[in-house]
Structures are given as structure tokens and as C-alpha cells.
């Protein structure tokens, strides 16, 4: 068990204690005690400076020095470092929770840190930088950044964590698993009831099921897709377009800025492939690819405890004051006892 101090500079004031002791030691060498038959007729006189400060009663001196030292120690913010406290201190964590996915909520386990704060910015890198700055302002303790994100490929990489100091731990928590469940909104044009309709659907893919739910349908004045053909082939081309649209033609996520015009290839299937190619909206490209676990594992690391283990406990300060007070009472008792002799 040891003692450490929050404000060790206060101990400089303890030098005042050394003054009477030093004078005592200096004068003791030159002043030999004289044994006298009785001192009952000797009373304290106004002494010279050196003699006035000379110590007559060593136990009383020790008592007073102890009082001053305890008071100074109390002012210096004493902390008794016990193994139990040290362990508790090391268990404390300052945690910066970075939300890349604003909809994700930190789990209770993450909130259980002694000090925790949540950061969310448009770019993950900025949120991480905010978290690092905040962590550096915390007391010496174990620090870590926890990132809650889906970790889409391209949205998160090791460069985002380059500014994180080595002693700060990094923990990556995936908030959703794209491989287990994907959900996208799909726009497509469908030929319904003799006219083109823009339909918004939500496609939910899980390992067990695929669900398509139509969210809205907007009738269009004309189809944004045209097939040009010779006048002779035009009726067949229009019929083929209607056939393709009846199956539904997916639009890119950004929408369709201007109508698409393709030449009549001669058959329906070829027309469908041609249109899909022009729309550049393959199904696989819509789905997000996430950062592989191996990559996220290479980024993550355990936090390293920082600084000396100084578990703060205000009770220690009170303990030192109480001890000083007790010694002060003892000193008064000691002096009165000496006076009554």
C-alpha cells in the first residue's frame, strides 16, 4: 500500500516545518544542557531569537511537526493506493462511442463505462477525431473508442483510425449484418392497366425469406423508356416494351434523369437485357458489401492503461484532516498536562 498526492506541489509548504527543527539542530550543537538542582524557580523568559526557537520538549515538537505534516498532506490531496483500489482504478474506462450509423443506439454495456460520451458526424473519420480529442482530456485511465457501424466496404478503413494514439483501444461493433439481412428500396416502372406506373418497393432479403412490399405507385403520363424501330417493326417493338414493363424495369437508386431510348433489337429478351444494361442497376450492385471481419480485427486493439494508478478518493483527505485534528487535541492535552505538573 502506498500514498500518492493529487497536488504534490503543496508539499513545498512543509518546508516551514523544517525551520524550527533546523534551528534546534544548529543550536543544540552550541548549547550544552546544564543539570540544575531544581528548575522550579526558573520561568520562561523572553529569549534571544535562537533560544526562543530552540526546542525544549522533543515529544511536543514531534507532535506539532506531525500535525503540520498531516495538514499539508491533507491539502496535497492524499490518496491511499491499496491493491483493491488499484484494481478498481484499472477497471475504469473512458469510452468514446462513435456512431457512424446515426440510428444505432449504444448498447448498455458500452454505456457502463465510468466516463462515456457519444460522437456522431457525417464522416466516420471526423467523429473518431472528436472522440480522440475528448479522450485526451480525461483523467489518466484506460481509454477506448468504440465505433458502432455497419462497416460498409469503402465507408470504413484503417485510415479512419490513423489519428488514434496507440494507447487508446479501438473496438468495432457491427450494428447490422448485411449478409444476414438486406433491405433496400427499389424503384421500377411497371405497365399496369394500359399505362406506365412508377412503383416504389421495399425488398427485404433474409436467409430464410424474401419479401417485397410495394410502398407507393405513381402513374406516369408516358413511359420514360422508348424503343425506336422501323415503322414496320414499331408495333412489335412497342409490344415488346410493354411486355418488358409488365415484368417491371428496375431504375437506378438515383432515379432516371432523362428518358432512355434504345433501338429495337428484334426480340423481347434481348430488349430486356439491353434496357437493364442501360439502366446500370444490377441487383447485386445495390446491396452493400461490408468490411470483412479480418479487416476489422486488424483495426481493433485493446486499450493500454495510462498514467500512474491514482484512484481518487475524497475520503482520504478527510481521513488526514481527522488525524491532524486528533493530534491537535493530543497536543493541547499534552501542553495542559505539562502545565499542570
Amino acid at each position: 500500500m502506498g500514498v500518492t498526492f493529487l497536488q504534490p506541489a503543496v508539499w513545498l509548504t512543509a518546508l516551514a516545518v523544517a525551520l524550527p527543527v533546523a534551528i534546534h539542530l544548529l543550536t543544540r550543537a552550541t548549547r550544552k544542557p546544564v543539570t540544575f538542582p531544581t528548575i522550579q524557580f526558573l520561568e520562561t523568559t523572553r529569549l534571544s531569537a535562537a533560544a526562543r526557537h530552540a526546542i525544549q520538549d522533543r515529544p511536543l515538537l514531534l507532535l506539532r511537526v506531525a500535525i503540520v505534516l498531516l495538514a499539508v498532506a491533507a491539502l496535497a490531496g492524499p490518496i491511499l493506493v491499496t491493491p483493491a483500489r488499484e484494481a478498481a482504478w484499472r477497471a475504469r474506462v473512458a469510452r468514446a462511442v462513435v456512431l457512424e450509423d446515426r440510428t444505432a443506439a449504444p448498447e448498455d454495456e458500452l454505456r457502463s463505462a465510468a466516463v462515456a460520451r457519444t460522437f456522431a458526424r457525417l464522416r466516420l473519420r471526423d467523429a473518431v477525431a472528436d472522440g480522440v480529442r475528448w479522450l485526451e482530456q480525461q483523467d489518466p485511465k484506460t481509454r477506448e473508442i468504440v465505433v458502432l457501424s455497419a462497416f460498409r466496404r469503402g465507408a470504413t478503413d484503417a485510415a479512419d483510425f490513423a489519428a488514434v494514439p496507440g494507447h487508446v483501444g479501438i473496438r468495432l461493433v457491427r450494428t447490422s449484418d448485411g449478409s444476414s439481412m438486406r433491405e433496400r428500396e427499389i424503384s421500377k416502372i411497371v405497365w399496369r392497366e394500359g399505362r406506365a406506373v412508377r412503383v416504389l418497393e421495399r425488398l427485404t432479403l433474409t436467409p430464410d425469406s424474401t419479401e417485397v412490399r410495394e410502398l407507393e405507385a405513381t402513374a406516369l403520363d408516358e413511359a420514360p423508356v422508348r424503343v425506336t424501330a422501323t415503322p414496320a417493326d414499331q408495333p412489335a417493338a412497342d409490344a415488346a416494351l410493354r411486355a418488358v414493363l409488365r415484368r417491371g424495369l428496375r431504375l437506378p437508386p438515383a432515379g432516371l434523369l432523362e428518358p432512355i431510348t434504345v433501338r429495337w433489337p428484334g426480340d423481347v429478351e434481348t430488349l430486356a437485357k439491353l434496357l437493364e444494361a442501360r439502366l446500370e442497376a444490377p441487383v447485386d450492385a445495390w446491396e452493400p458489401e461490408t468490411l470483412p471481419d479480418a479487416s476489422s480485427a486488424s483495426i481493433a486493439r485493446e486499450p493500454a492503461p495510462q498514467g500512474s494508478p491514482t484512484p481518487v478518493d475524497a475520503g482520504d483527505r478527510r481521513t488526514f484532516w481527522a488525524l491532524a485534528l486528533a493530534l491537535l487535541v493530543a497536543e493541547i492535552w499534552f501542553r495542559k498536562g505539562a502545565a499542570w505538573k
Partner: protein, 289 residues
Amino acid sequence: MSRPHVTTAAELSTLRDLEFVARTTVEGLRHGLHRSPFHGYSAEFSQYRHYRPGDDLRYVDWKRFARTDRFYTRQFRETTNLSALFVVDVSLSMDYGGKFALAQRMAAVLGTLVLDQDDAAGLLSVSDTVNYLPPRSGHRHLTLFLRELATRRPRGATPFAAALERAGLLLTQKGLVIAVSDFYDADVVVALRRLARMGHEVVVAQALDVDELALPELGAVEFVDAETGRTVVVESGAAAPGYAARVHAWLSRLEADLRRDGFDYLRVTTGDNLERSLRRFLVARTGGA
């Protein structure tokens, strides 16, 4: 209670010194004293001897002077019943300067006076052990008395009142108690009164060093109480007037108390002439004769 003791060279020196002082002082005192300061009973005529200055004129045989034209003093074989016990303070407060040596000399002179008149003298000192020489008379006992006195050394912090109380227990018959001390013990007057109530005659002989009356100029000094070990640091120059005033006030109170109780009081310091002080005391004791 007395113990076998081998006299050391230092003690032998002290003994010889005591014998010398006692003898010379007693001889000098005889010239000033007209009659013995300590009274025994002497009824039986023993012999004549030539008159010596200082002899009590009551014992000069005037008829023989008329016949022979020479002065003769009648001497009596004294059947003494005076038993004097010297209670000497051997606490450490006596161990300062020449104070204890002064106390030894006072006891030696007075003891020699007592023993020279064939009275009995004993010696008691109490420290951590009790040293007691029972009162006896005779020339051989004088040597033993002085030897015992020479071997005593101050030690311990036994209150002098305890020694006086022990004296009261040891004395089996009424006698003379001569207390030799510095009398710093506050309870000593009570103990002396108790002895007086027991029928003993009490003589108080106080021995002090001159430093105890007037504090020497030593500058800032840490004084250590010889018996209690307590210390006090004072500027001796500044403390001296107050110290002297307090000591003299204490001495005045002590003397007044002792005289009120009817005790003969003798105070001698190391700066005084012992013979002169004793003569003044003994003359006063014999009623100024």
C-alpha cells in the same frame, strides 16, 4: 541496614578531608562557644584540666584558682542520653557544584561536636537503598561516622521527606534529628513537624550552592532538572532577577515556617565560611553565651 563497604581512594581522600575540616572547625568553634550547643546530662565529676579559652566559666573551679592561681576546668563523666541522628539528603539535587561536599562537612563538624562530648551520633541517608549507621558514642564511632559520611554519594530522586519519615521509625527514643538537605522537597516541613511531634528535637541544616541563590550568567541555557529530568530553556541573564526573587521568597517562607515551628535553622552556601556560619549558629543556639 548498614552494609560492608571498602573505602576507595577518593572516599579516603574525602574522609581525610572531612576529618581535617571537622577537627579544625571544631577546634575553632570551641574557642567561640562557652558551653556545649548540644546538651546531655552530666552529673558525675571526672577530673580537672587546664582551662582553655572557650570553656564555660561555670565549670571553672574558682577555689582551685585561689589556691593555685591557675584556672582549672572541672570535667564530668557524662552519662549522656543524647542521641543525635544526622539525616543527610542524598538525592540528585544535592549533586551540584560543592553542595553535597558542603553538606558532608556540616554533618561531619556537627557530628564531631556531638561525639566529642560523648553523645551518640548516627547517620541516615535514603535513596534507592537505606543506609543507616545507628547512633553510638565514642572515638571509634566518630571514625566510623566520618567514614560512612564520606562514602555517601547523591543518587536517585527519593524525596527527603521519606528519609525523615524513616528516621522517625528508626529512632526508638527521643533524640536530636539534624536534617541536612537543600529542602527543595515541598513535603519536608510536614515531615519535620511530625518528628517534632514525636518528641525529637529538630535542627535544620540547609546546604546550597551559590549558583542556586543567584543564577550564573550562561546565556541561553537549557536547564535540566537533576531529579525529574524536565528541561527549560531560558536566557539566564534575563531570568536571573526573577529567579533570585523567587528563591529568596521561598527561602524566607521556609525559614519563617521552620522558626514558627521552633526548629533551629542553619543555612550555609558554598560561598560562605563554614566555620563562621556554624559558630554564629551554635552561639545563637546556646542562647548567645
